[in-house]
Amino acid sequence: MISVKGLVKSFGDHVVLQGIDYTINKGEKIVIVGPSGSGKSTFLRCLNLLEKPTAGEIWFEDQLITDKKCNINVVRRKMGMVFQQFNLFPHLTVLQNITLSPVKLGLMSKEEAKENAMRLLARIGLTEKANTYPIQLSGGQKQRIAIVRALAMNPDVMLFDEPTSALDPEMVGEVLAVMKELADEGMTMVVVTHEMGFAKEVATKVLFMDEGKILEESSPAEFYSDPKHPRLKEFLSKVLV
């Protein structure tokens, strides 16, 4: 579904991604872990071109999206993204946050979009928040709504950029629960996270990144019980209790 070939990204002289090759298949749940500054967020953001790759190719559903002629706005409709800082639109109500994009892009009528949004809100149990503004919500609620906002576009893949890192510890669970549910439905997911429990339970593959390279790729069981790369061994010994 997503195929990355020789992806390089540098900011000025600083090379963040040094040639990444990876293919994500439909239905896979890829969890990317790694120390901060390893390039994992940049890698994720390159997938929907929020960061413009310096070199390399990214293919999405048989389309070369790094090509100049490719209309990235159309491609992004099929790639949902969830941010660490939620990035809900503070001047719009929850309902407007969810319906804005499908309506403005002419994908749904206002009524359809509203119906769809209410159905999604019901799924996460936040129907009664439809007409409130984001500032009135807790962090966990905001992130769940951010997820639903991305889902309202009916994406084929969901990208999560440290979705629980900005949350109070007691709100992490509710967000992970929504993500697990999504995974169980068969959504293709790429998740940058520090939640090892989530990786073990949900991931089909866990990637370890450091210094702009994928150093290890394995099943979650193997990843934690039998790490191969010395850098990963060191990393796991520090993060796992």
Binding site: N48, N73, F83, N87, P90, H91, L100, Y133
Partner: protein, 250 residues
Amino acid sequence: MNLIALGWLNPLVKFIVPFINRLDIFFKYNVRLIKNLYKPMLQGLQNTLIISFFALIIGVVLGTILAVIKVIPKKGILKKIFDFVVNIYISFFRGTPVVVQLLLFYFGVLGPRGYSPLYVAIMVLGLNSSAYVAESVRSGILAVDHGQMEAGRSLGLTYGSTMWHIILPQAIKNILPALGNELIALIKETAVVGFIAVFDLTRAARAVVSDTYDAFGPYLYLALVYLVIVLIATFFVTKLERRLRQSDKR
């Protein structure tokens, strides 16, 4: 007996009667003044309001466009050209007196081509105001969190659509106090359009002064009228601000 008992009122009466006489003179003076002023001032007020209103619209629309041009990410030579042109425009309108701009545009550029003074006044004040608005809108846009643009773009919206539906509403909310000040400054600045023979409030008062040789009364009334307009404008700006802040309420 009664008369004697009320004798203590005498000094009071002595004081009050001339005062009432004076009050009477004062009253008559004002009535005459208002009679003289009201017609020309009403006509002047109309022009002042027309100029303020349309100049503000031009200022906000053009200023926002200029601000967006300034913040659009662009590369290389294009960026240099755009920035250069916009910067020259802004420096010219902020760096020269509005009276000079009026004289230049009316007598030098537009007047000879048959444009009316009122039209030129609206254009010049609008263009002038846009230079100030551009700077505040630009800072308002930059104050909106970068994540908002990313969120909009990640949902498939174009740059322009995200700017229009997501960034600008938040930016305008941030800078509404500054825009309110701009409106007030603009209303007061219209007082100089008399230089190109537009019959505005100030010009009306001046006409009455030269007719009656009385400067104090007409100019005091003139000041009062400007004050009332500004207070009304302030009232509406505050109200709008409160409405836009709805999403900040917890």
